[in-house]
């Protein structure tokens, strides 16, 4: 699946009437199977852009064209919410900074839960394969509370790929991990994404990680709204994290 963003804007209106323009992205594309790293200082709108691409948040204007092979292009921005939800469930896998697993469900059940809203029967074999690949062969029946932070994030990676998505969106997936863990989780994301042939958009602060992906995008450069909000502080933090 390839994604084409055109003239995307996102503006928030506070209850007091004041208006915040968060996104103003004239053009941004991801090709099918392409791995893209996105950097950008804190508050530059990375998460917001991800949500727009996932159909979680509707943009204020512009279009999000998703080209699924064998289907006419879908403009997520124009779809009603329920259709966006269904589209996301079927074609897009998301990995968050923290694992966002359901506490009452085992690792295996969390992965199966990822398959629950597609209208297709759950593929337990694939779920097992994913969990084995992320190294949790003997932890499948553990609840998240009994897993380490790194293990939790691996379950989240497995769950994001449960439906063999065509686009994987990862929002600082290694942000909570130590460098060694971060490395291995990142490798898993890349290898599994490649395995299912999905495109990958990986948001990171880490320049080194960004370097390892085929293409890098600095949101500050493509988002005309972001520069206004980047403070000296956040710029320095971004500098340090290099």
């Amino acid at each position: 699946m390839d994604v084409k963003l055109k003239a995307i804007t996102k503006r928030y209106q506070a209850p007091d009437g004041s208006v915040t323009d968060v996104l103003d992205v004239p053009n941004f594309d991801i090709g099918a199977g392409e791995h893209v790293a996105m950097i950008g200082s804190s508050g530059s709108g990375k998460t917001t852009l991800l949500h727009v691409m996932a159909g979680i948040t509707a943009p204020s204007s512009g279009s999000v064209e998703c080209g699924v092979p064998g289907m006419s292009p879908v403009n997520l921005a124009k779809l009603p919410e329920a259709a966006r939800d269904a589209f996301r469930g079927r074609y897009i896998g998301i990995i968050f900074q923290t694992h966002h697993l359901l506490g009452g469900f085992t690792a295996m059940e969390n992965v199966l839960l990822g398959m629950s809203f597609t209208g297709r029967p759950a593929d337990a074999g694939w779920a097992r394969h994913l969990l084995e690949t992320v190294g949790l062969k003997d932890r499948m029946d553990y609840r998240p509370g009994k897993l380490s932070v790194g293990q939790q994030q691996r379950v989240a990676v497995a769950r994001a790929l449960a439906n063999r998505p065509q686009l994987v969106l990862a929002d600082e997936p290694t942000g909570a991990l130590d460098p060694i863990n971060a490395r291995s989780v990142l490798d898993l994301i890349r290898s599994l994404t490649t395995e299912v042939g999905a495109a990958l958009l990986l948001v990171t602060h880490d320049r080194e990680i960004a370097q390892s992906l085929a293409r890098r995008v600095d949101l500050a450069e493509i988002n005309r709204s972001s520069s206004r909000y980047v403070s000296a502080d956040t710029a320095r933090i971004a500098e340090v994290s290099r």
Partner: protein, 622 residues
């Protein structure tokens, strides 16, 4: 993972809260169900099918008291009615609204158990049907034959017909004694009816044996009346019914002889008093163990249980209860029994007078002067086992059935009661049957169980009886239902209100509990949405959780309610309350559906909260 697994997993995650919520629903539904079941069961308790008889005819007064006393053995009998109320039931064929009638007399007890003096038809047995058949068949034969000479072809033919009627009438009249003997064993009232039919026979025969055609035709008409009366009698010979189609039957032994000092025990009496066939009992007057009548009855049979208060009763022949001298309210001893002085022995046990009951006895009529002569000079036989021999004045006063070993009772019999003026209400014929010496006008009973073909006839019967002012007719089902509902209705209404309140509280508990869980699970809901769940899916997820709680709690509550009522019935139940099987009525299902709908509505509030959860906001890192 389907939606139900998802819901169950979520509920398991907060099992305590879920179970407590289910418990609150359970209690509400349990309370409501038990109230509904009790109310519905009570409404069904007193249906016409519970009673084999449509009416009780009894002395005028409290209708309820008559039913309570005669059917449920509660409270005292209200008085007595004259015997002719019973006779009137079958007097005129045109307004015969009763299909059967069983008179009864109550008021005495044995060891606290009710004793009912009644007709032999109280206990069903094959002889009743064959007697009815015989009476109908004989009556029909006579009537049909007597009817036909209405249009004679010739004087000769007419003469032939009259002779045929005369022959048959005489033949039947000869057989009457045997018939009456059998009837006497089966049921005193049939015996008594036959006794009065005897007069019609005698009229018929006296007409038919004369020479004038006019007199002989009057005799034919009388013969037709005999036939009709026999048929009417035959139609009324039906056994007592405790409940619809349920009769009292013998489990052991036999039914009492309707003219002897014999009795049969209800199943409960036999069981609880440990009485057996061959045991003897007496009558405790007015329920007092100190005031015991002298007469002794022998147990000859034990009834099969029916699950009604009729199991807790001892049955004796009506005539034997009349034979008790102290029953002065409704009987009086004829002082001039066979010319014996008042203080003489009431009973003859002289073995020399014992004769075979099978062969007709020579002239033994109580009204010997009227005994008609049959052609050929034969004296028409009369009573089946008549006793017109002079009383054996040397006989020691003794209870009819008491043997020498029962001595303590015997000497007291006449002296222990200061309130009786007449000791001899009867005498015993050689075959042990009671010959009552009480004028018919003094015969009285406590009441009559009456069967009618339908409810319409009950209405007519009631009107007919009450119009005469001597008695009243009461439908037990109608009376009991009205009585029961009067007391039950307000209580169940209050309880229903409470039950509904508790159910609403349970719904609020569902609402609060799930609402809290939704607030706590906002992030989880956002995750489900991120994984592709639509708002509507989330809405139904939460609503279904509430429905599931309502359904599980409701079903458990339904079971609990039934269990509660069943336990209550087994602890406090009474055989006098005919409770039907505890079936689940439509009302309970409707209520359960109502509870589930209420739960769904309660769940809708938190479900809408879940519906509104913003995915982007709640996915922000904690």
């Amino acid at each position: 993972m389907n939606i139900f697994q998802l819901i169950l997993k979520q509920m398991r995650q907060r099992a305590l809260s879920s179970w407590l919520t289910i418990l609150s629903v359970l209690f509400g539904v349990m309370l409501a169900t038990s109230v509904f079941v009790v109310h519905r069961t009570a409404g069904q308790v007193f249906q016409q099918e519970d009673y084999g008889f449509s009416a009780i005819v009894g002395p005028r007064g409290s209708r309820l008291a008559l039913v309570l006393n005669s059917v449920y053995d509660i409270d005292q009998a209200q008085g007595t009615i004259q015997w002719n109320v019973y006779e009137d039931l079958f007097r005129t064929p045109n307004d015969r609204f009763a299909s059967w009638a069983i008179p009864f007399a109550v008021g005495d007890t044995w060891k606290g158990r009710r004793i009912m003096g009644t007709s032999g038809l109280i206990v069903d047995r094959p002889e009743i049907a064959s007697m009815a058949e015989l009476l109908k068949q004989q009556g029909r034969e006579l009537r049909d034959l007597a009817r036909s000479p209405a249009s004679p072809e010739s004087a000769e033919a007419l003469e032939n017909r009259i002779q045929q009627v005369a022959d048959l009438t005489l033949q039947r009249f000869v057989e009457l004694d045997d018939l009456q003997t059998n009837a006497g064993e089966l049921d005193f009232t049939i015996f008594d009816h036959l006794e009065s039919i005897r007069e019609d026979y005698e009229r018929a025969i006296s007409g038919l044996t004369q020479t004038g055609t006019a007199q002989r035709l009057l005799g034919v008409a009388a013969a037709q009346t005999v036939g009709e009366r026999l048929m009417t009698l035959g139609n009324s010979v039906k056994p007592f019914e405790v409940g619809y189609g349920r009769k009292l039957t013998i489990a052991e032994g036999r039914a009492f002889h309707s003219m002897k000092f014999e009795g049969v025990l209800g199943a409960k009496v036999a069981r609880e008093l440990g009485m057996k066939i061959g045991d003897e009992f007496q009558l405790e007057h007015g329920g007092s163990a100190e005031d015991v009548h002298a007469e002794v009855w022998k147990v000859v049979g034990i009834l099969a249980p029916t699950g009604t208060s009729f199991d807790d009763t001892i049955y004796i022949p009506l005539i034997s209860s009349w034979a008790v001298p102290e029953h002065e309210h409704f009987m009086e001893l004829a002082a001039e029994i066979a010319g014996t002085p008042d203080m003489d022995a009431p009973i003859t046990k002289d073995s020399t007078t014992v004769r075979s009951g099978a062969s007709p006895q020579p002239n033994a009529s109580p009204k010997p002067g009227n005994a008609p002569m049959l052609p050929g000079g034969r004296v028409v036989p009369n009573l089946p086992a008549p006793d017109n021999t002079p009383r054996n004045t040397n006989a020691t006063p003794t209870s009819p059935l008491a043997s020498a070993s029962n001595a303590p009772v015997e000497p007291k019999s006449a002296d222990e009661h200061d309130h009786h003026h007449h000791e001899h209400a009867f005498m015993l014929r050689p075959d042990g049957t009671i010959k009552l010496d009480l004028e018919r006008e003094k015969w009285r009973v406590s009441g009559i169980f009456v069967g009618t073909p339908g409810f319409y006839q009950y209405g007519n019967l009631r009107f007919n009886i009450e119009q005469k002012g001597l008695a009243m007719a009461v439908s037990p089902a109608q009376e009991m239902r009205a009585f029961f509902m009067k007391f039950l209705e307000p209580g169940t209404r209050v309880l229903s209100g409470i039950a509904i309140l508790v159910s609403v509280l349970a719904a609020i508990t569902i609402l609060v509990s799930i609402y809290n869980s939704v607030v706590a699970r906002r992030r989880d809901i956002a995750i489900l949405r991120a994984l592709g769940a639509t708002r509507n899916r989330v809405l139904s997820l939460i609503t279904l959780e509430a429905v599931l709680i309502g359904l599980v709690g409701g079903l458990l509550g339904l079971l609990g309610g039934y269990a509660m009522v069943s336990i209550g019935i087994s602890l406090f139940g009474d055989e006098r309350l005919p409770i039907r099987g505890l079936n689940v009525g439509w009302f309970e299902w409707a209520y359960l559906a109502g509870v589930v709908i209420l739960a769904a509505l309660a769940g809708l509030v938190p479900a809408l909260a879940a519906y509104r959860v913003s995915v982007a906001d709640n996915l922000a890192s904690e």
